[in-house]
């Protein structure tokens, strides 16, 4: 186990290095995206256009040698545009399935909140079930399958914000944020001749990625840490600013993410630091605040951090 970690860990860091070559100052988002990828989860990126969301996903997919597909969500997009349709082939005299973009390995679902809930749910169902049903036929999705959905927080006009229950389907919700002045300057410098994405190489095969995902599942989470996760999650349900707390799925998500995060850091066991670091990204979008809290300007991030400050970190274990 340790050896594999050691082996794969260098590859994982290479992915991060690749992303850092292309994206400047986005180490955190890159790491977190990788966490989601390795934990077999999906990411919701909420940010304005042009901060590098697409570039991030493309770099990621190129690094892990996966097929990259992109769906640009528009109000008139139909579910079949996502999943694919069966088309009658006159020559063969039968319906032939033409897979939609969801059949890629790494899918960028751009501006997911601009499309109708019907289409949205098609995507979200696929993410959850790992298969799509077209004309009564169930077609399983690729392995690996990683969706990075983006939504634009600025334009709410004519948009269909994702229902809270469905946000649950995303392992992490991230914000890109603007680069700093120096970073932007450097960005100009780097892209002036050729785009750096041309220069990067893939560091692993799809198969390797799959086995890494398997390794990640094997990462050890000890009882005290599990207890810690559960304490944090249950605390969200009783917090005074919270209308709806995190579901048990949130606990599972937090543990999965923590395992991936530990793996990225070369550990085969999860420590409370992993949990603590990831909690705002995993739990933030799973909390619905009550109206007073919203009115006071409290954000889910504030609530999660408050909870993290109050839940005691496990520092001893019971020895029989």
């Amino acid at each position: 186990m340790t050896q594999q970690i050691f082996l794969y860990n260098s590859k994982v860091s290479k992915i991060l290095r690749n992303i850092n070559k292309v994206m400047i100052g986005k180490e955190e988002v890159a790491t977190l995206s990788l966490v989601a990828l390795l934990a077999e989860g999906h990411v919701l990126l909420e940010d304005v256009p042009g901060v590098g969301k697409t570039m991030l996903v493309r770099t990621l997919s190129k690094s892990v040698n996966c097929e990259f597909k992109r769906i640009q969500f528009t109000p008139d997009l139909l579910p079949s545009d996502v999943t694919g349709v069966s088309i009658y082939n006159p020559k063969e005299m039968e319906f032939e399935f033409r897979g939609g973009p969801i059949l890629g390995d790494i899918v960028l679902a751009d501006e997911i909140n601009r499309t109708s809930p019907k289409t949205q749910s098609a995507l979200l169902e696929a993410m959850e079930e790992m298969s799509v049903t077209v004309d009564g036929r169930s077609i399983s999705l690729n392995q690996p399958f990683f969706v990075m959905a983006t939504q634009n927080p600025i334009e709410y006009e004519g948009t269909y914000p994702l229902p809270e229950a469905q946000l649950d389907r995303f392992l992490l919700k991230l914000n890109m944020g603007y680069p700093s002045q120096e970073q932007e300057l450097e960005m100009l410098e780097r892209t002036s001749k050729e785009h750096p994405i041309q220069t990067i190489d893939s560091v692993m095969t799809k198969e390797e990625l799959i086995s890494i995902q398997k390794e990640v599942r094997e990462v050890f989470v000890d009882k005290p840490v599990q207890q810690y996760i559960v304490s944090i999650v249950t605390k969200t349900r009783t917090h005074r600013s919270v209308y709806l707390g995190v579901s048990p799925r949130g606990s599972i998500a937090l543990m999965k993410a923590a395992k991936a995060y530990a793996f990225i850091h070369g550990r085969d066991y999860v420590i409370p630091d992993d949990v603590k670091y990831l909690a705002p990204f995993v739990l933030g979008h799973r909390i619905i605040l009550n109206s007073e809290a919203k009115f006071e300007g409290i954000t889910p991030g504030v609530v999660v951090n408050e909870i993290l400050g109050a839940v005691p970190v496990p520092v001893r274990r019971e020895y029989p």
Partner: protein, 732 residues
């Protein structure tokens, strides 16, 4: 901005540290014979300044060393600095003093070397205070110590700390106030601390200091709750034996009697042993001038060599009945009594073991050996017995020479003393009757013998007047001086005599010539009594002190045969006298019993109750001190045991226990882990404080045991080393 303001705070705090430390140096000139104090203070200031500048450690070391050498050079060495002779001198001194230290002859160390050690101490203090005040930011302990130091000095020495206390108070309030800001800035990592906030902080601080100063100054102060020990120690110091080196001095024979009064501590250290056929008082000298506070000698000592040890001292006339006796006196080696103690009627003295001439001052009767360091002598004397008839019939025509010297009284002696004297003797006619009336006045009128809580006359008070009319308690000096003054106010020549009482008969008698008994005379036997002049008889000793028997015999002649004087000539009066003596001896015997008891307990106090109380207090204080020390150093010794214990244990929970013990120590040191803080975050925080990586490394090992359930006994060596280092670091 941030750094510079922090530097300013640190400098102010450190400056306060210097001011406080200065208070430690100030009293040195009062309580010890430290000279050139300003030089030492200057060197201290120099060391503090160097520390404050935060120079490179080697540079500051060199500078401080250079300063030290410079001070030594200025104070002690005339050679040019760094010349050949200079180095040679340093070398010679160093060699000599190291030798003295190795031989444990501490007193032999040269002043230069002692100054060197002192300067070294100042240097170390500058570093220690830098650590306390600037690095550890724990200033309260030093402030507390300073207060304790000054109060103790103020209480027990001549040093007057009333101003020092105010200075310390102000300085320490300033230091603690600024330390508060500085640590707040540190803890909250406030970067901008603008002028407004500074004033908002410092104006209240200033206000608090001024206000508390005013309140402290204006509020009524409680009088001292126990008798001021300063005059007490002063008086005993002046009564003390010749052990000059001792800081705490006790009762005993002393040269200076110009300031009498005050309590004294009994000191049972032996002064000499005497082998005599009958116990008697041991005279040393008399004094003639009463100043209102004590006794002095108006004529300068005029020592005459006595040929062949024949002492030409006549305190009484030849016609007095005497018994020829012999006494051997052996001085204790460390008693250092410079004068000869002798019984009344001394005729001949001979040094034991060595031939030495003796010198006599006839006026006071003080006898000194020509060479010091004699350890014993053999005395032949004729002990007098005074015929009461002779005393009664003695003429009262005193020679002019006697009148001149022994009727002196201070001009401001209160009238009521004279009135009292006349009242006492109103029914007496002869001089002898008057004298005995006064001698017995004290015991008949409720005057008590007591060595503790004895008053010292105020500036405008007379020693005798205070005793006679106000306190009515005291010891031999009070009684004897009062009697002399009362007699003199009746124009009876009298003088004040000091010496030793007969002492204690040794239980185990050493080998001495037949018929002699050996008495042990200690400092607590130091005594004073009265001699009254009778023109036909000479100087006759009287004992006014309550509880003490008369040193000589008085008898009434019933037959005409004077040779019967020391046979069984008895009459009623002598019976009475003897009974009295017996009673009194019982009394003194009791005293001595007490003294013996207390001596066995290792105490120096004479009274049983106070001995017990003191021994209790001391025992409790020692126990408390031990408990406190154990409690405050508990982490130190507990961690020692824990480490030993943990090294023996094998199971997995060892490292957990050890790690949590470390957390506890750190928490006590003020580095507390918050509930929601992970070990890693905490370790990083700790390491930042300690400027190391040990805590993170240790935490890494620990994480593997508790979050991975790993057995780390293989790395136990590394772990215990890290753990030990961290424990030491956090305890330092």
């Amino acid at each position: 901005m941030e750094g510079s303001s922090r530097n300013i705070y640190q400098s102010i705090i450190y400056l306060c540290g210097f001011l406080l430390f200065w208070e430690w140096l100030r009293p040195l000139s009062t309580i010890s014979d430290t000279g050139s104090l300003s030089v030492f203070v200057g060197y201290t200031a120099f060391c503090f300044l160097i520390s404050m500048l935060k120079l490179k450690s080697w540079l500051s070391f060199l500078l401080k060393l250079a300063g030290l050498l410079f001070v030594i050079d200025v104070l002690f060495i005339s050679e040019r600095m760094f010349s050949k002779g200079w180095f040679y001198l340093i070398y010679v001194h160093g060699q000599f003093n190291v030798e003295m230290i190795l031989n444990q002859q501490w007193n032999e160390m040269t002043p230069m070397f002692r100054s060197f050690l002192f300067l070294l101490l100042l240097w170390l203090m500058s570093y220690l205070l830098y650590y306390w005040f600037v690095i550890a930011k724990r200033i309260f302990l030093f402030i507390l110590l300073t207060f304790i130091y000054i109060t103790i000095l103020d209480t027990f020495t001549m040093y007057d700390g009333s101003l020092a206390i105010i200075r310390i108070f102000v300085v320490s309030l300033v230091a603690m106030g600024i330390n508060g800001v500085a640590s707040l800035i540190d803890r909250e990592s406030i970067s901008q601390f603008g002028l407004r906030k500074i004033t908002a902080w410092f104006l209240p601080l200033l206000g608090v200091i001024l206000f508390s100063m005013l309140v402290g100054f204006a509020s009524p102060k409680l009088d001292p709750q126990w008798p001021d020990p300063v005059p007490f120690i002063q008086s005993t110091a002046e009564n003390a034996g010749f052990n000059r080196g001792n800081v705490v001095q006790k009762v005993g024979y002393g040269e200076d009697d110009s300031q009498l009064g005050g309590s004294f501590i009994q000191d049972h250290s032996p002064v000499f042993q005497a082998a005599t056929s009958q116990d008697n008082y041991w005279r040393i000298e008399s004094k003639d001038f009463y100043s209102g506070k004590g006794w002095e000698q108006s004529t300068p000592y005029n020592y005459q060599e006595q040929s062949d040890g024949r002492i030409m001292l006549k305190t009484f006339r030849d016609g007095i009945d005497t018994t020829e006796r012999r006494a051997m006196v052996r001085m204790e080696e460390d008693a250092n009594l410079p004068k000869v103690v002798y019984p009344y009627g001394i005729r001949q003295i001979q040094g034991m073991g060595q031939d030495t001439n003796f010198l006599l001052d006839e006026v006071t009767g003080s006898i000194q050996p020509e060479q010091s360091g004699f350890n014993g002598y053999d005395i032949t004397y004729r002990y007098p017995s005074f015929s009461i008839d002779k005393l009664q019939t003695s003429s009262e025509e005193d020679p002019e020479g006697i009148k001149d010297l022994y009727l002196q009284l201070p001009d401001d002696l209160p009238e009521r003393v004279k009135d009292l004297a006349e009242q006492i003797v109103v029914e007496e006619e002869t001089r002898y009757d008057k004298v005995t009336a006064i001698e017995q006045y004290f015991s008949l009128n409720g005057y008590t013998y007591q060595t503790e809580n004895v008053a010292v006359p105020e500036e405008d008070e007379d020693y005798v007047d205070q005793f006679l009319f106000e306190t009515m308690v005291g010891y031999c000096d009070n009684f004897s001086t009062s009697m002399v003054v009362l007699l003199r106010s009746l124009d009876i020549p009298a003088r004040w005599v000091k010496g030793f009482t007969n002492g204690d008969l040794l239980e185990e008698q050493p080998q001495v010539p037949d018929g002699l008994d050996v008495y042990q005379i200690s400092n607590s036997n130091a005594h004073s009594w009265v001699e009254v002049y009778f023109p036909d008889v000479g100087w006759v000793p009287f004992e006014p002190t309550v509880g003490f028997a008369s040193p000589v015999d008085f008898f009434e002649e019933t037959t005409a045969d004077p040779s019967d004087n020391d046979s069984d000539v008895e009459n009623e009066q002598e019976d009475e006298v003897e009974q009295e003596q017996e009673e009194e001896e019982d009394l003194t015997g009791n005293f001595q019993d007490f003294e013996d008891d207390s001596g066995q307990m290792g105490e120096t106090f004479s009274e049983e109750s106070s001995t017990k109380i003191w021994s209790w207090i001391i025992t409790i204080a020692v126990i408390l001190a031990v408990c406190f020390t154990l409690y405050f150093t508990r982490y130190r010794w507990v961690s020692y045991f824990i480490l030993k214990h943990y090294k023996q244990r094998e199971d997995k929970s060892v490292s957990q226990d050890a790690y949590h013990y470390l957390l506890k120590i750190l928490e006590r040191k003020g580095i507390k882990r918050e509930r929601g803080q992970t070990l890693r975050e905490y370790a990083k925080f700790v390491d930042e404080k300690f400027e190391s990586t040990e805590m993170s490394r240790l935490t890494h090992y620990y994480e593997r045991t508790i979050y991975r359930n790993e057995d780390n006994s293989g790395q136990w060596d590394k772990i215990s080393e890290l753990w030990e280092n961290l424990v030491k670091r956090s305890l330092s």
